[in-house]
């Protein structure tokens, strides 16, 4: 239950248009959201690598670390090139606090319970990020290169979501 409410809070933090006073996030705020969103999944992946004994979960966690680290490297290179300083927003702040809650919750769990909780959260998280990319981040990005980066990130997030759902269903059977 706790996990479910955390996921819902996360989804609303990312997708809720009402959070933006005027129209939507600015480019520096979008950059701040991108960096936070990637780092959060790297951190969760690192925890899963150290806790999980499940081969599929381990493989997924490794992929999350590799891919989200790669995206953030490119985001960092782009903001440097564009001379944009990533800015905090209510969204990036609530993403970070949601991530702290998620990690604190996961740290209490072991074995199959941990695997289920981690993978369930990854499904909800990637769905929320995908929705945010489509509904908030891409439509509001002003700079063409930032918009292009977000567009290129989308298929990776969609693939992660499919992968997480696949593991979720195979864990459900075990």
């Amino acid at each position: 239950m706790r996990l479910q409410s955390a996921s819902i809070a996360l989804a609303s933090a990312l997708a809720c248009g009402a959070a933006w006073a005027q129209g939507g996030p600015t480019d520096p705020q979008i950059a701040g959201i991108v960096v936070a969103a990637n780092q959060i999944d790297v951190d969760a992946g690192k925890l899963a690598r150290s806790r999980s004994k499940n081969k599929e979960v381990q493989g997924f966690a490794k992929q999350m670390i590799t891919d989200h680290t790669a995206v953030n490297k490119q985001a960092a290179a782009l903001v440097k090139k564009l001379k944009v300083k990533p800015e905090e927003s209510d969204t990036s702040k609530s993403l970070k606090s949601g991530a702290r809650d998620n990690l604190a919750n996961l740290k209490k769990l072991k074995g199959a319970q941990f695997d289920h909780a981690y993978v369930d959260h990854e499904v909800a998280y990637h769905q929320a990020v995908l929705d945010a990319i489509d509904k908030t981040l891409i439509p509001n990005a002003k700079n063409a290169e930032l918009k292009d980066l977000l567009t290129k990130v989308r298929p990776a997030i969609a693939a992660h979501l499919d992968h997480a759902k696949h593991i979720q269903s195979s864990l459900g059977k075990s």
């Binding site: 995206v71 980066l149 990130v153 499919d162």
Partner: protein
């Protein structure tokens, strides 16, 4: 020392010759974009070269099915990997990081 160098040179030339003889092979390009290999199925002849270019924001690999000698190692975002077709046959390959990404190289 010089003798060794000369021998190495001759040996190097001998190795380079067969490659030069097939250098007229065609070149092919495979884009890795949107978590897919494009084209997914590529036909090429022995002696042709194929270059995979990673246009995604995440790293990928070109990794042949078990027992096949196709292995690019990590291709970073924006990076590329070139392979010269050596033997006939069909090689199914995946991205080692994202095994749902599949491709086939048909060498004729």
């Amino acid at each position: 020392m010089l003798h060794h160098a000369a021998r190495a040179l001759v040996f190097g030339l001998a190795l380079a010759l067969p490659a030069a003889a097939t250098a007229a092979g065609k070149t092919h390009a495979v884009r890795i974009e949107g978590m897919k290999f494009e084209p997914e199925r590529l036909e090429a002849a022995v002696g042709d070269t194929i270059t995979w270019t990673n246009r995604d924001v995440v790293p990928h690999t070109v990794t042949g099915a078990a027992g096949r000698a196709l292995e690019s190692g990590t291709i970073a975002p924006g990076g590329k990997w070139t392979y010269r077709v050596r033997t006939k046959g069909e090689i199914a390959y995946v991205c080692r990081f994202h095994p749902m990404m599949k491709g086939v190289l048909v060498a004729k």
